[in-house]
């Protein structure tokens, strides 16, 4: 193999351009370019992403038997929920009358926008996904992202036509939450590896295995009551002020295909 001696020329030119791009991206100068560029490439990447999901067997479109079974399960669930709704309606009437007496403002319905997962971060160091909706669709940094009604993560970065979602299981993920059963507050964090951990739960609070963890409204962009996961292990440190719990999300975050972003009221 014959090598020419002008490799240093290519190195200098491309290294300087790459450095300039990093600086441009850091100062946000490239944002108007990155958004449309990602938008152009996204359909191709998204197509291959869904194709690989189908090959892996995560796409239910292919499995008719499973669809029938899911349909039956859902019908049964609808019957159960119909009964529950009627009971809740009664409670709502009671609640409204109590709110009126206490002069509470009405809760505001949340606006949402649906998005398709375009790609997953190809590095081994972070757990993020890119979705095909951006600031042009009203998406802002910090907004909650749901999948199948469960909390999946929050918006980490936004361009005009795409957004990056930081998944619950990423080690940079942190959110305040509480145990639905005992109302005990804590800090839910993504763990390096997999899963979640809920820390800073006061020792005197009751936390049990299979308890449900939901979001609290301490962070303004994340609505209260979004279901995060269930407790699988409780670690009560005998001499510590706090206890911690291992939490597993209800959804498989590795297989997300469609998500919903909560835009707010």
């Amino acid at each position: 193999m014959k090598k020419s001696s002008n490799f240093f020329k290519y190195f200098i030119i491309l290294f300087v351009i790459s450095g300039a791009l990093v600086l441009g991206s850091f100062f946000g100068v490239l944002n108007p370019v990155i958004g449309p560029a990602t938008r152009i490439v996204s359909p191709v990447v998204s197509f291959f992403d869904s194709l690989s999901q189908k090959i892996k067997g995560n796409d239910t479109d292919l499995n008719v038997e499973e669809l029938k079974k899911n349909n039956d399960d859902l019908r049964r669930k609808i019957n159960e929920l119909t009964l529950e709704i009627s009971a809740l309606k009664e409670l709502k009437v009671e609640n409204e009358s109590l709110r009126a007496q206490l002069k509470f403002s009405e809760s505001i319905a949340q606006k949402t926008v649906a998005a398709t997962v375009v790609s997953r971060d190809p590095s081994n160091f972070s757990k993020t996904i890119v979705i095909d909706r951006g600031s042009k669709n009203g998406i802002k940094k910090g907004m909650a992202v749901l999948s199948d009604g469960f909390f999946a993560g929050k918006i980490y970065d936004v361009t005009s036509y795409t957004a990056t979602v930081l998944l619950l299981t990423d080690s940079n993920f942190e959110i305040s939450g509480f145990v639905q059963e005992s109302r005990a507050l804590g800090l839910v964090k993504g763990q390096i590896g997999s899963g979640l951990v809920m820390e800073m739960i006061p020792q005197d609070e009751k936390v049990s295995i299979n308890d449900t963890i939901v979001t609290s409204n301490i962070q303004s962009e994340i609505p209260e009551g979004l279901v995060v996961g269930k407790v699988t292990e409780v670690d009560k440190e005998s001499q510590g002020l706090f206890q911690k719990a291992s939490v597993v999300p209800f959804i498989n975050l590795e297989q997300l295909k469609y998500v919903v972003i909560v835009l707010g009221g």
Partner: protein
Amino acid sequence: MKKLFIVFLVLVSLILEISFFPNFKFFGVIPNIFLMLILAFLFILPEKYTFYSAFWGSLMLGLFSNLFLGSEALVIIFLLLILILSHTYIFTSINYFLLIFFSFFVTLFYDSLILIFYKLAGYKTDFIYFLKNGFLFQILINGLLVIIFYYLIGHFWENLIKKEERSRLLR
């Protein structure tokens, strides 16, 4: 034809790395298929093609990662310089053992440098955890990939050049 062949390989490797392998992780690890392709290119193609493939490919990779655009390109271009210098002055002849050594070196340095960029971007990562859990599988898969690429692309590239020379002579 040569350029088309290179563009095709770069696009296929990027699609596999961005949208295919994140769904098919090997022991929780995504192989650096694009990086290994560039490593194989380095020992087969003229460096002009290698540098341009590395630059444009890593820019596309950067569109779907959390880092500032150009970070991957900066790292890969820098690694290419080190590899070319070591290939020119130290390891002048290439063999499969050396390819595996280079793939180990490139994987380690690429991950370390990318991690520094993550830290600079204010992102929490744990390289020690990754070293303990996924790195061994990553270097094994990457080593295997670079050998396959080197053999197949080298073979195809030689045929392409022979064909071009033959058609030139006929003209």
